[in-house]
């Protein structure tokens, strides 16, 4: 067993007290590596909670710098961080919460050429991206590398998430075959988003990562969880792994990654 310092025992005491986490679960968290894709509305709460939980190695990917319009929901970024790379801003807050972690920053765009090399070293991936091409890219790369991940998306008052364990549960493409045409679905910058729902969905994704690592409970696999914050209705739709899925089915047609056309905001 790892020798926990007194400070660690106190810091993680509320985890250790949980029967489903305990000393063993906290050790697993400290040994775990999670990659957060996107340091925006979803990635910020995910990154902060994973850091607070003591996930030992956290990677964070984002190519953008902080803008004032981000601050309404991207809670790791402060007014002083405007124009700072989002990954650096997030890293600073994560280490302020928990200095003993290894935080790896990737200030780049995830594309077909680099994603597999980056995700390969991680135990779990969080999709906190804001566009369909990257969501499909994360799904495809995680299925190919057999790395479990949490899909998440928010818009206006709505959120949806599912957890994918490649080889065991249905993937994003089993249900959603291909990205919608560019401009068919508005982005947050076009349609707006209630800030707090980023926290609602992001913390669900962080919870899934912590459950996967510790083995506590059951995951949102083969399940699409969606909510409408206007009514606070939550709904679970059961999904099934599809034999004819072009990615994880019996005769896959998608065998290598390609970059899809990026939806461009026209407003």
């Amino acid at each position: 067993m790892r020798d926990f310092s007194l400070e660690q025992l106190e810091r993680y005491s509320r985890h250790i007290l949980l029967q489903d986490v305990g000393v063993e679960g906290q050790e697993k968290l400290l040994d775990a590596k999670v990659l957060v894709v996107g340091a925006g509305g979803l990635g910020c709460p995910v990154a902060l909670y994973l850091a607070a939980a003591g996930v030992g190695t956290i990677g964070i990917v984002d190519n953008d710098t902080v803008e004032i319009s981000n601050l309404q929901r991207q809670i790791a970024h402060f007014t002083k961080d405007i124009d700072v790379p989002k990954v650096e801003s997030a890293k600073e807050k994560m280490l302020a919460i928990n200095p003993e972690l290894e935080i790896r920053t990737y200030q780049l765009m995830l594309v077909a050429d680099n994603i597999r090399d980056i995700i390969r070293d991680y135990d779990f991936v969080i999709d906190g991206t804001d566009n369909f091409p990257t969501k499909f890219l994360v799904n495809d790369a995680c299925v190919m590398e057999k790395i479990p991940f949490s899909h998440g998306g928010i818009l206006r008052f709505d959120g949806q998430t599912m957890t994918v364990v490649p080889g065991e549960s249905s993937c994003y493409r089993c249900t959603f075959r291909s990205p919608p045409p560019p401009d068919a679905v508005p982005t947050c910058s076009q349609a707006g988003v209630l800030g707090a729902i980023a926290g609602m969905l992001g913390t669900i994704q962080a919870t899934e990562a912590l459950k996967f690592i510790t083995g506590a409970g059951s995951l949102l696999t083969d399940t699409l969880l969606s909510f409408d914050a206007k009514t606070m209705n939550f709904r679970k739709v059961q999904l099934k792994k599809q034999d004819n899925c072009p990615l994880c089915g019996q005769s896959p047609t998608i065998t290598e990654l390609v970059d899809a056309e990026q939806a461009v905001c026209s407003l």
């Binding site: 025992l9 005491s13 250790i16």
Partner: protein, 80 residues
């Protein structure tokens, strides 16, 4: 109690409040094998009123509780 219990680990939690005493109990129990016995000393009051019950809820067996001269309690726990 006529039969003697072999104690495999000891932890003095005098002066350690709730819930950190339970954290220590869990850490010590995690180091033991199933069936081994931890002797833990707990303060009177909330510690003795809470820790043995929490330990039992996690499936371990409380073999004995005995108040010591200084008012603290010696508790024997067999790991599940």
């Amino acid at each position: 109690m006529a039969k003697t219990v072999v104690v495999d680990a000891e932890k003095n939690c005098r002066g350690v409040g709730c819930p950190l005493n339970m954290v220590y109990a869990k850490v010590e129990l995690a180091k033991l094998k199933s069936g081994q016995v931890l002797e833990i000393v707990l303060d009177d009051g909330p510690p003795i009123n809470n820790v043995p019950g929490s330990v039992q809820k996690e499936g371990h067996e409380v073999l004995d509780k005995k108040q010591l001269e200084d008012g603290s309690w010696q508790v024997l726990i067999r790991k599940a």
